[in-house]
């Protein structure tokens, strides 16, 4: 690939023992994409009693070109989703976030990399996916975290994600997709402690053309950084089953 003379030289990551760019580590996005992947100003949060603690922080957006090319019906659905987000957002129910949302949830994730497989483990809800390298296999069924096949293109790990179900969102703002979603991710080391992450979104039932998000991912450099347990099913129980209790909870 020709690099324009004015462009920065591509950073060359240290290699793993089998000679590939070493992406091992604990990473996290540092943006407000999980609130809203589009550019957005600060706004009142959905739970008034939490005041400024839980209102929407502003963001410059992670969508290249700023616009999500929704088809008209899909654009209307996004507005409906936003209006009903406290009941509809799968994150509230501790459901797996799908791809690419898992990447920019406000929790770390870890890349455990070897030659044949790369496992991505997400702290949020214990989500996990394995990228099989040099594989073109197809999923037997849809799933929340999809089916990932990967290969290297020079410095970049390219992950082709298919068979994602339609039930995940891209963010808390109701940005959605159908079961025709196809995501191609690109992870490239840009310095010793940062990655460049891009995801190309294709879904002809929802969008008029493919579109892209991109963001840096930052390494957790603190000594003994580790993923901790965020088993959220019990945090979602009142939301999911509250009305089915014998007696309502004494305090919420």
């Amino acid at each position: 690939m020709a690099v324009p003379a004015a462009a920065q030289a591509q950073y060359r990551a240290p290699r793993t023992a089998d000679g590939k760019p070493n992406l091992n580590g604990i990473w996290q996005a540092m943006n407000t994409a999980n609130w809203d992947i589009r550019p957005h100003a600060a706004a009142q949060g959905p739970v008034l009693s939490l005041g400024a603690q839980f209102s929407i922080p502003p963001g410059i957006g992670v969508v290249e070109g700023d616009e999500i090319p929704y088809l008209p019906a899909a654009a209307a659905k996004q507005k409906e989703n936003f209006a009903k987000r406290l009941t509809l957002d799968p994150e509230v129910k501790c459901y797996l976030p799908g791809v690419p949302r898992a990447t920019y949830m406000p929790y770390p994730f870890q890349i455990v990399q070897s030659a044949k497989t790369i496992m991505l483990v997400y702290e949020y809800a214990g989500g996990v996916r394995t990228v099989y390298m040099d594989s073109n296999s197809k999923a037997p069924a849809d799933s929340w975290m999809g089916w990932s096949n990967g290969h290297w293109e020079g410095e970049t790990l390219v992950v082709d994600v298919t068979s994602l179900n339609e039930d995940t969102w891209f963010d808390r703002a109701g940005d959605h997709h159908s079961d025709a979603l196809h995501v191609v991710e690109r992870y490239t080391a840009r310095s010793a402690d940062t990655l460049n992450y891009e995801a190309t979104i294709e879904d002809s039932k929802t969008f008029s053309r493919p579109w892209k998000i991109s963001m840096p991912l930052y390494r957790h450099v603190e000594k003994n950084a580790q993923l901790l347990e965020y088993k959220c099913p019990e945090f979602a129980e009142e939301v999911l089953y509250g009305p089915l209790r014998k007696k309502p909870l004494a305090s919420k």
Partner: protein, 344 residues
């Protein structure tokens, strides 16, 4: 996962729930009974970083019960002949059971939970041959008696829930709430079905992911210190190091709700993963001074399976919890109507 059904390999997957004394289950020709001093100079495959390579998808399904049937006393291994006989008897029993379960479609009797229809029955699973009479090793072959304080803990828990088992989600077991299934441990025991786990390695880490409930323990192998004692986790906090070709994993920081066989939060587990020509020799030692007066150990062989692990989206598909609670509320309402009818 493909579950192979083969008359030669009929075996019973030990459900983690069936941890009480059972009639002797099928034992087949041992693979694990190779003499410890085998002269063959086998070396395990290594990762690019030069440590034993455990990567892949494994099953720890086994036909061996956790505890030795009482009548066998101190007998730790079946002979080959005994194992073959038990294997045959178990195969016959499984076939009979399968026949007996055939019911007329459309009848009330046909409404039953038959794992065999989905390839999940014990006899349809791949499992490794094992001539042990119990997973627990040693002359006793049984979990040591529970200390009085642990019995009280368990009794108190049961008493608090008695009459309230269907009041709300907190009254249901952790597995029904999709928090943990139980077999993940550590220590790791076979799940009732789909006893599959995946091991992934990277420089300085070994990750173990269980199909149910996609829990992943990422174990640093640098022998670093455990988390602060104030941080408790359902799967505890695991730290590993290598002793020759064996991965030794030390786990502490369990919650007081993890309750492995009634244990408390002082539960301490040491696991050993040793590569063998047949797979992985998995051993564990468990101690908890608030539950047992001495540690106890067990051994479960693991064997590779083909294919990828499929996603087990428990929380997302948890219709069971909704239906359980809804059913309980409906029953209460019906009873209330009956009662009010009587007093009119």
């Amino acid at each position: 996962m493909t579950h192979r059904f083969s008359a030669r390999f009929l075996a019973v997957v030990m459900a983690a729930l069936l941890l009480t004394a059972l009639p002797a289950l099928a034992q087949i020709q041992s693979v694990a009974a190779k003499p410890a001093t085998a002269a063959k100079p086998w070396t395990p495959p290594k990762t690019a970083e030069g440590v034993p390579d455990f990567q892949g998808v494994w099953t720890n399904a086994t036909n061996t019960p956790l505890e030795r049937p009482q009548k066998l006393g101190a007998k730790e291994f079946y002979t080959e002949e005994e194992a073959a006989q038990l294997d045959k008897a178990e195969a016959e029993a499984a076939e009979k059971a399968a026949e007996g379960r055939q019911t007329e479609p459309g009848t009330a009797a046909d409404v039953h939970y038959d794992l065999g229809q989905f390839g999940l029955a014990r006899y349809q699973a791949k499992s490794i041959k094992n001539r042990r009479t119990s997973l627990i090793v040693g002359p006793e072959g049984r979990v040591p008696p529970t200390l009085p304080e642990a019995q009280k803990r368990q009794a108190d828990r049961l008493a608090a829930n008695r009459g309230h088992q269907f009041d709300g989600p907190e009254n249901r077991p952790l597995s029904e709430r999709c928090i943990v299934q139980g077999h993940e441990g550590p220590p790791m025991l076979p799940a009732g079905y789909n006893a599959n786990l995946q091991i992934q390695q990277g420089p300085g880490y070994v990750a173990i992911m269980h199909e149910m409930v996609h829990d992943t323990r990422i174990i640093p192998t640098d022998g670093s210190a455990h988390l602060a004692p104030s941080v408790r986790q359902f799967l505890g906090d695991s730290r590993g190091h290598w002793e020759g070709n064996t991965l030794v994993v030390d786990t502490t920081n369990f919650t007081d709700r993890t309750a492995f066989r009634g244990s408390g939060e002082k539960l301490h587990v040491v696991e050993r993963f040793t590569p063998t020509e047949d797979g992985i020799r998995y051993q564990f030692t468990v101690d908890d001074p608030s539950t047992w007066d001495k540690p106890w150990s067990a051994e479960i062989p693991m064997t590779k399976v083909d294919g990828r692990i499929y996603e087990y989206a428990c929380q997302e598909g948890n219709y069971g919890m909704r239906n359980t609670l809804h059913g309980a509320r409906t029953t209460e309402q019906e009873e209330a109507v009956k009662t009010s009818g009587k007093t009119e």
